[in-house]
Amino acid sequence: MTATLETTVSSTVDTAVELAGVRKVFGHGSSAVVALDGVDLKVKPGEFVCLLGASGCGKSTLLNIVAGLDGATSGELQLNTSRPAVMFQEPALMPWLTAARNVELALRFAGVGRLARKRRALELLELVRLGDVADKRPHELSGGMRQRVALARALASTTVSPDGAPALLLMDEPFAALDAITRDVLQSELLRVWETTNTAIIFVTHDVREAVRLGQRVVLLSSRPGRVVREWDVTDSSNEVLDEINTHLREVISGHAS
């Protein structure tokens, strides 16, 4: 088990993300757990891919590897994008900063100047329709609004690339903690933002309905170890596809019942 992960950024733009035989093992020896076992995945620039799976399928691990927050045990990861942005289940805004400052923080880390930062942060907040509450702090906003600020911040961190590399947004069940109405609204908000920004998105969820509604492609992962089971093109989703994916997801889960 040697770390042979290579991250290369090239300028060919037919794939934004390419994973080849990515394997991730936690722990050593007999107590080792294989979280991911030979995952291959390609994402085109501007594509919306949903990773679907039950708990323990390593979807978050996969996302962390693409984000560079975690290293793979072996396999190859190729990114042809600017720095990937990550959104978590919790908004994780800095509680001492206003909404605008939270977005600016991402730009600050990217070395953007003060005035440009201010302008860009406001633009992004307008994009998620929160221009009016730019000066509010996280505790003054509702859960849905906070998650939209987090979305604006994530976009800020991925869309500042100087060489115009395509943007990549990684989302780890970002709407799972929201109530049903807010989730519904945010899903449509995300689709709108995706269409206007042309950002590639990898969206992790365990909700089949959400995956089919949002994604162009749904990738089903098995659990322990995580492998790609099947993929569906869901651009024009029908109820049959939904049922089919559901059936497969149930099969994957009931395989662990013994």
Binding site: A85, A92, W96, F109, E140, T182, D184, R192
Partner: protein
């Protein structure tokens, strides 16, 4: 999902309108004064009343329990002669310099203990232990080491306040939700940028609590040191003033000194730490205690 997008947009706008925070009206100044200013004044007046009544009952001899008015006269005369200001200045500038030195020492120390595992294992518990050791205990040793000099006083003040401040910072850093530094990394923050923009601001409430406690400890350590280590070359601070009162069997002076010591403690708390703490907590929506 048959809902057309523009309907959902309207739902979203409606949700936002419902979610927009309602600005709480600030009550007028006189009402706020009535709520926060009047109760302590009444409490103080009651205390004075009980004191006066006790004195009038003559249960205790005059040299043990003075009349409030005599203490008041002692205070007024020492203020009129300017003695009170020189005493306050002597003690306050020592406490402030000692406290600033303690902050400068304790902050990097706290950062090291919080972030470097070996350092924490080595001196973490020692520092907590030092916090429970009354700093008066250092006075005899300090006199042997430094003589009756300002160094002795500063040493005792530092031993009193450094552990509190460092421990406060450690607690503040320990209580940072792990997701925040993680977000920082995902946003591309390096180690330094993360410390400057995420760790330190996130640890600020704990750090501030440590500073507050550190100030209290440095003030009481200073008083202890001044009461014990008295010499003409050290000048007269509040501690010496109290000591002199005791030597002269002058209960008026003793009570006046205690009153002044308390006054400084309360004054610094109200003028410095309370507003700072308020600003920091309010910015984070932690207004429960305010």
């Amino acid at each position: 999902m048959a809902t057309p997008p523009d309907t959902l947009d309207k739902v979203g706008a409606g949700l936002d309108a419902l979610d927009v925070p309602v600005e709480a009206q600030k009550p007028p100044l006189w009402r706020r004064f009535l709520k926060t200013g009047v109760p302590p004044i009444i409490a103080f007046a009651l205390l004075l009343g009980v004191w006066q009544a006790l004195w009038a009952s003559a249960l205790l001899p005059e040299f043990q329990l003075p009349a409030p008015v005599n203490v008041w006269n002692e205070l007024v005369s020492s203020i009129a002669s300017g003695e009170a200001f020189s005493i306050l200045w002597t003690s306050l500038h020592r406490a402030v310099f000692g406290f600033i030195a303690a902050v400068l020492i304790a902050t990097p120390l706290g950062l090291l203990i919080a972030k470097v595992r070996v350092v924490r294992a080595a001196i973490g518990s020692l520092l907590t232990g030092l916090q429970s050791l009354p700093s008066v205990a250092w006075v005899p040793a300090a006199i042997l080491w430094f003589g009756v000099t300002p160094s002795t006083i500063y040493f005792v003040v530092l031993m009193g306040s450094v552990p509190s401040i460092a421990n406060g910072l450690v607690a503040g850093i320990d209580q940072i939700p792990p997701l925040l530094p993680r977000v920082g990394r995902a946003l591309g923050a390096g180690r330094l940028a993360s410390a400057r923009h995420i760790l330190l601001p996130a640890a600020l409430p704990g750090y501030l609590a440590g500073l507050k406690q550190g100030w209290a400890f440095s003030w009481r350590s200073l008083m202890a040191a001044e009461i014990i280590a008295t010499s003409p070359q050290l000048g007269v601070g509040l501690g010496q003033y109290l000591h002199n009162g005791s030597s002269l069997n002058d209960i008026n002076m003793v009570i006046a000194a205690i009153f002044l010591i308390l006054l400084v403690g309360i004054g610094i708390e109200l003028l410095l730490f309370r507003p700072l703490e308020r600003a920091v907590l309010r910015a984070r929506g932690l207004t429960g205690a305010l």
